[in-house]
Symmetry: C2
Subunit: 421 residues, 2 copies
């Protein structure tokens, strides 16, 4: 490898509370190593590479780089631009390499999920085929916690802590006002994997505590069973607090919001649009006859820096810094993984998994983490997630009493190539 070379870091897909901590780890370790000249940021993920919209993160103030650890979302910018196979999207991949060449980029750190690992892997292969010396390393990121080969993903611990706390708090509200607003449904993210919904089970320390019912996309959802479950909870506790993963599907694999039959139709027979929670609220009101509410945390669950998990922040940073260390030690085409060491006390180290393997894998909530009735979690799930939510990440509070976040100056460096997209 060239004695001194530039690196590029890009963020991709849905932001998380801690993805910026991973970028901080990459940048800080790159500076510390003395072996990387500049770390460029690809503005808005792979789009920045394609459009040659790059800025020098190492030229940003040290305060801003440090403040990445306390700032949610994606400070470098993100996108959902999907690259397909090398054949189908060849021009894109070649353009990326062309931009890398033009800016003497020899290290590519991609912080993202499956798709990002797939992109990084393909860029890496094309570089090798073209004889361009390039190291591509993946840094895991997803609130969905669905990446294979890693015990868990940075981003998950914070969303788990936040949604569990929100479930606990809103449950207290339902318990207090059960005489009128008897049922509350909390909708959380997770289209295929129910890790986020499952984490809310931490809030239920006592049987009386909510959530009384948790539904995950991993198990087939039945509206009839749902109504029976809710009736039983109402009888036992006098109120019902339900958590629904956004991607609930019936036994045929169809999203229940897409065709909910007579349950999901309003009084005029129109199919109700909207999310799962809204639909289930209507079902509860119609079938059980008690008033129901729904809360949909939406993007607030993945940006709740004000109550982030310190463990998560630290591990996200570790994944970023380890990607650099490993790259400089000669690794290539790997994603950093988190390994839970055996033993009573939680201890997490890092490992590596080939980008291509990660790209093709998916990790759903295992059956043994879901209860027999498929409407809650087991102690094994609690044991898995509890260590990940530990610790309160520092929050910088401004004179106005609210958190202070950073924003990069993002002075774009001069383009050297013709416009592409």
């Amino acid at each position: 490898m060239t004695a001194k070379a530039n690196a590029i870091v890009a963020q991709s897909g849905g932001p998380t509370t801690v993805i910026n901590s991973s970028v901080c780890g990459v940048v800080a370790q790159a500076i510390k190593s003395g072996k990387i000249d500049r770390v460029l940021g690809a503005q808005n993920g792979i789009l920045g590479a394609l459009r040659e919209e790059l800025f020098d993160i190492t030229a940003e103030s040290p305060d801003k780089i440090e403040a990445l650890k306390r700032t949610p979302a994606a400070a470098v910018g993100s996108c959902r631009y999907k690259l397909k196979s090398l054949d189908e999207s060849r021009a894109d991949y070649e353009r990326i390499l062309e931009v890398f060449r033009a800016h003497e980029i020899r290290y590519f750190f991609y912080v993202g999920g499956n798709d990002s690992m797939d992109t990084a892997d393909k860029v890496n292969k094309l570089a090798a085929d073209s004889g361009y010396e390039l190291v591509c390393m993946g840094v895991p990121k997803t609130i969905d916690n669905d990446l294979a080969f890693t015990d868990h993903c940075p981003g998950y611990g914070s969303v788990a802590k936040y949604v569990a706390t929100c479930a606990m708090e809103a449950s207290k509200d339902t318990e207090a006002l059960y005489t009128t607003d008897t049922c509350t449904i909390l909708e959380v993210m997770g289209r295929n994997a129910g890790w986020i919904a499952a984490a809310t089970g931490l809030a239920r320390r006592q049987p009386q505590d909510g959530p009384h019912l948790i539904y995950l996309p991993e198990t087939a959802f039945s509206l009839e069973k749902f109504v029976a479950d809710a009736r039983a909870v109402l009888k036992e506790f006098g109120c019902i607090f339900i958590v629904a993963g956004e991607g609930l599907r019936d036994k045929n694999g169809d999203y229940i919001t897409a065709d909910a039959g007579s349950f999901g139709r309003d009084s005029f027979g129109h199919q109700q649009l909207g999310g799962v929670a809204e639909m289930l609220k209507a079902v509860i009101e119609k079938e059980i006859g008690v008033k129901a509410r729904f809360n949909k945390l939406g993007t607030n669950q993945r940006s709740a820096m004000h109550f982030a998990s310190l463990t998560d922040i630290e591990e996200a940073y570790l994944c970023g810094s380890t990607a650099v260390t490993q790259a400089l030690q000669g690794q290539n085409g790997q994603m950093v993984t988190l390994l839970r060491e055996p033993g009573q006390n939680y201890r997490c180290t890092t490992g590596l998994a080939p980008l291509a393997d990660v790209a093709n894998g998916e990790k759903l909530v295992p059956r043994e983490f879901i209860n027999d009735s498929e409407n809650g979690i087991t102690q094994a799930m609690k044991d898995y997630v509890t260590p990940l939510v530990q610790g309160q990440a520092p929050v910088e509070i401004g004179p106005d009493g609210l958190p202070v976040f950073m924003r990069f100056d993002k002075k774009l460096i001069n383009k050297k190539l013709p416009k592409y997209i």
Copy 2:
């Protein structure tokens, strides 16, 4: 007044993060005074009084009473049971007095909003007419901040802090992913008063920061103007972050979700149900052609103890303890108010306002707190709300890494009267 007498405390309506702090203030001050024998809790608000479902709060453990300050929702229990005029609901009022008599209750502390103050006032008048010695004092509570005669309401500072932080965080998410998820709409509570929506304006420290647009129920909402506003923001900032109060109404005073014309219909021409944010999301997608998301915090905004305002908690406690102090000093038929002292530095003292006056008043966001374009707030609004969000209330964290809340044992005392409802 009898040398020693019992007091009753009741909570009413929608819970808040700090209503339990007010109860803590009542109970602690009652114990401290040595002039009140027992403080009974009316289980589930006025329903508990009507049903003679009472428990002795002073018999609960001191730890639990102290933990009220760290527990959201309504630990005594709440309800939405509405008492009408003395003529219309006479039997109810008489029953309440009968229960008070049976349990030697001479002090009634009612923590609630307008309706609760109305109820307390009428109970008080009936007691006077019946020659039953009773002191009725109101303790203000509402996240909506719409009570007259008080500078602000306990509960508001915490919801303001939380929704402003959520707006700030979700704005960062929108800014990061604007290339695909270009618009986010955050729906907050406030059916008649826009105080909560207005508070999110604190998040906008720089023009680029969200929320770029804030709509309050105080001003007539026009879908055409809304679309024009959103287009202008998109042009200037590349993304759009919008806050909508749940009770937006058009120039005729009709809720915009009730009949949104062609805007509010889906592609099949069906009228969309659901909340304001969901409707506005559909409008943005249809009229501007960018992808929009919506977050609906729901009851999570009024129960977010994990990020409550210390100022709010302390003032809530102060209102509770002051109600007791004033009652023992001979005041009756009054609600405790919060008075903002003149001067540069925020300082808050307490006052009193007659229950009947509070019952009939309502305080909306004044015109000078809303910008000329009626899509944001002014510096005056920021100046008003900033002191109320200051300080982080202590959060007790359990071994599982999550907040710990209390639950009363609620051992109901023996009934002395026949069943009523």
